[in-house]
Amino acid sequence: MPVVVAGTRLFTHGGSYMLHVRGRWGLIAAAIIVAASALGLVAAESAVAAGPIASGTSCVADATTGCLQGKVVDDNRNPVAGAKVTVTSPSAATGSSKTAKDGSFFFAVTEAGAYQVALDPSSLPTGVTPKTPTLTVTVELSNITPAGFALNGHAKGSTSHAAASVSFWQLLGQQFSQGLLLGLLLALAAIGLSLIYGTTGLSNFAHSEQITLGGFLAWVFAVQLGLNIVVSAVIVIALTSLSGYLQDKLIWGPLRKRGLGLTQLMVVTIGLSLALEYVFQLIFGARVYPVATDLELNTGPLNITPTAYWSMLVSIVVLALVGLALTFSRLGRATRAVADNRALAAASGIDVERVIRIVWIVSTGLAGLSGVLYALVNGGVYWLTGAQLLLLVFAAVTLGGIGTAFGALVGSLIIGVVANVSTLFIPQDLKYATGLVILIVVLLVRPQGILGRRERVG
């Protein structure tokens, strides 16, 4: 029986198929010609029926085989097993099969053209009826052709798996909580940027690379060395703080002493930012490095992962501590004094260079923490993670009021929430632009930023 022969040949799996093709692929064109003429021959010999139709539980297309395949499912998208499917070829050859447990059926055919695929209603369970019992599909050889049936109704025991509907307000809530999360992580980086600007007047474009550095170091300690994530975070903060200290000691301090203008300094930060990005790429390549490893499900009122809740809590606590320290501690007051009037602060006995160095240490440490948390909640870090956040951080700082720590927090939260909620109304790839539009609007109305003059703290 040619059908059986075809069936056993066509439905061999994996490796043997590959060998089969490999065995003659050098003769592909010849094979096509031979196959075509063979088909013609078969058709000529048996005038009524033509190409064999074989059924099975899978199908591999090749030069002489087309796969006509599909599934039968009820209106709950559950598979319907045992349904009888009959196919009729252009030359009126027929083949039939019952659907497998997963509702699937496969026919391997050797003739291209329009096929009728018919579902036998009597083979269906009670309560299930076909929408269209017969489909007409065009089959090509060396290709797969889907011909599935989505039925009306469902039998007893078929339960719905449909995801619960998400109302507009629920979705708004979800995006709002994502916005809060993003805002809090941005704030950790933004406050540092703002403090550096406040005390030195420098717009540090390399601040974003401190975020990336934090993420990569977290991968090194938490994944590569397998340390506890809390321990890793503490080490990362220490190391990124150290990088801030070294930067100020080796680059920014000496440049300040030489009296370099702010514009030149800013260009140096841009150069440093690019150099660091490519150093990251040199060491780590372009891949995404995971920091967390386990799959966590979204949960709770904000519909975010447990790690995301912890990250928010950590951000809030750290931000509160920084705020309190700025307001009440001796060093905090000194910092604000330097930010207000550097000459006056120096004259009144404050060691300005020491304050600035501490500001660098704290700022880079905070950015490092921000990188750890960002990588944790977003599935990893790659060499441009920080660069992607840089504009948002700058927007947040400017929106809140340049040089004010609390302003940076407020600005970050606004940017984070607006960017995420905006995706409900505008194209996804414009979401970060919305933050910048808000920035322009607010600055037109209030040039000093939201908390600009009123509460100038750092």
Binding site: M18, I28, V60, I144, A162, Q178, L182, V288, N378, L384
Partner: protein, 447 residues
């Protein structure tokens, strides 16, 4: 696989040169070839030498290699580097091209987001007057460099650029199926698994992504399916690093299945999808992200997920050859890690160009170009399957040869696309989306 100091080191010269270029804004500086280290081990042939200062297309078959050694596509570089390198080694082992050993000029193409690197490197490559260029892998980068290469008539032969819009570009050839074929195959597989599927598409805003999305969507609609998310205007930026928001949006549209059209962003999309509780078996992947996610964070069980990949699923001997070559040369002891994407295509691109040069009896692009289509079989001829065999035929006086290599494409057509090419469909297992080969779909490319 995730962390590769050796690969980082391999990309050192190019990346350092690129960084220096960007920072200093200086003129091009020759970047050292990454294929000069010939530590032959085992049966693998040593890499061919980099072209010297006098070796250009006027006297030597000087192949320009322009592959993404850095950037977001750099994970696809090793198999292509191996394909190009192994082909050149085979060519020189058989006596070289036109009686002289071939040489390689390697430059980093980087990716579409780092146009500055690719632009300066292509100019540097062009100054070396290559016989032809194999690469780039990215469609975006191909669009960027063609205005530079076309005026001089330099052949660009890509083993991996799949954007439909590249068809018919002057002096541009490829031996990989364009996106339309892949989107079509993916849509048919989705409709096989879920009749009248409601599909959510997570697609990034890039020529490759949008092109593939469009063909996927049109075949889905024609087959009774629908796209509930990911239509025009619902792409995410290619530099996005936070995906919970877009995952919320796509799930709110209640899709039956989600197709992810992206590159390595997928490592960050999968945890977000997993956290939202969407089943991994209802995910579909494309050639840009069909890979092993076992070292990625928070990935759901991907058993039963499916994906498509242009190119043939190379047989074991071809895979072993590429792997051994890479390990002995550019890989410096590290193997390809099971990734062979576009390796056979890269190999065939080089062999095809070399044979065309043999037929032309010259090594420059203008002489080579007319012989490329005949070598791929457009006019029939005597079939040969390796460079050595084909070269014997040419030396024996044959002018009509038909090279049939491991990529098993049909002859190139008038648009310089393969007339037929394979798209493989794979099924996932555990966290590896390309664990099991289901079927190869031979796509016929009409134009």
């Amino acid at each position: 696989m995730k962390f590769s100091p050796t690969r980082a080191a391999a990309g050192l010269a190019a990346a350092a040169a690129a960084a220096a270029l960007i920072l200093a804004g200086c003129a091009t500086s020759p970047s050292a070839s990454t294929t000069t280290s010939a530590a032959a081990a085992g049966a693998a042939l040593p890499a061919v030498a980099a072209c010297g200062s006098g070796d250009d297309s006027s006297s030597t078959f000087a192949l320009g290699s322009y592959l993404p050694l850095t950037g977001s596509l750099s994970f696809l570089a090793p198999p292509a580097v191996a394909g190009v390198g192994a082909a050149l080694s085979d060519i020189n082992a058989a006596g070289g091209v036109n009686g002289k050993k071939a040489c390689i000029i390697s430059q980093d193409s980087s990716d579409g987001d780092h146009k500055a690197i690719g632009d300066s490197n292509i100019k540097s490559l062009m100054q070396s007057k290559p016989s032809a260029i194999v690469g780039p892998e990215s469609s975006s980068v191909t669009h960027n460099i063609l205005p530079v290469t076309q005026p001089t008539g330099t052949i660009v032969f890509s083993p991996a650029a799949t954007d439909d819009a590249l068809a018919g570009e002057a002096h541009f050839f490829r031996n990989v199926a364009p996106n339309a074929s892949e989107g079509d195959a993916l849509a048919k597989q989705i409709l096989t698994d879920v009749p009248a599927a409601k599909v959510g598409i997570l697609v990034f805003n890039d020529a490759y992504g949008i092109n593939l999305r469009d063909t996927l969507a049109s075949t889905l609609k024609a087959g009774g399916g629908s796209v509930v998310y990911g239509a025009a205007g619902q792409e995410f930026p290619s530099t996005e690093t936070s995906f919970a928001t877009i995952v919320n949006n796509v799930l709110a549209a209640k899709p039956d299945v989600i197709a992810i059209i992206a590159f390595d962003q997928t490592s960050q999309i999968l945890p977000a999808i997993g956290s939202a509780g969407f089943a991994g078996k209802n995910l579909y992947f494309v050639d840009g992200n069909l890979s092993d996610y076992s070292k990625t964070a928070g990935v759901p069980d991907l058993t039963g997920s499916k994906g498509t990949q242009q190119g043939v699923d190379a047989d074991k001997t071809v895979k072993a050859k590429l792997n051994d070559w890479y390990k002995a040369n550019d890989g410096k002891g590290k193997d390809l890690g099971g990734i062979y994407n576009y390796g056979p295509e890269s190999y065939d691109a080089v062999i095809t160009l070399a044979l065309a040069a043999d037929l032309a009896k010259k090594d420059d692009s203008a002489s080579i170009e007319p012989f490329i289509l005949p070598v791929t079989g457009t006019t029939g001829g005597t079939v040969c399957k390796s460079y050595a065999d084909c070269l014997k035929l040419i030396k024996g006086g044959k002018t009509d040869i038909w090279y049939q290599g491991p990529s098993s494409i049909g002859p190139l057509n008038a648009q310089h696309n393969p007339s037929t090419a394979y798209v493989g469909i794979y099924e996932g297992d555990g966290k590896n989306t390309a664990a099991k080969f289901l079927t190869g779909v031979k796509a016929t490319i009409s134009k």
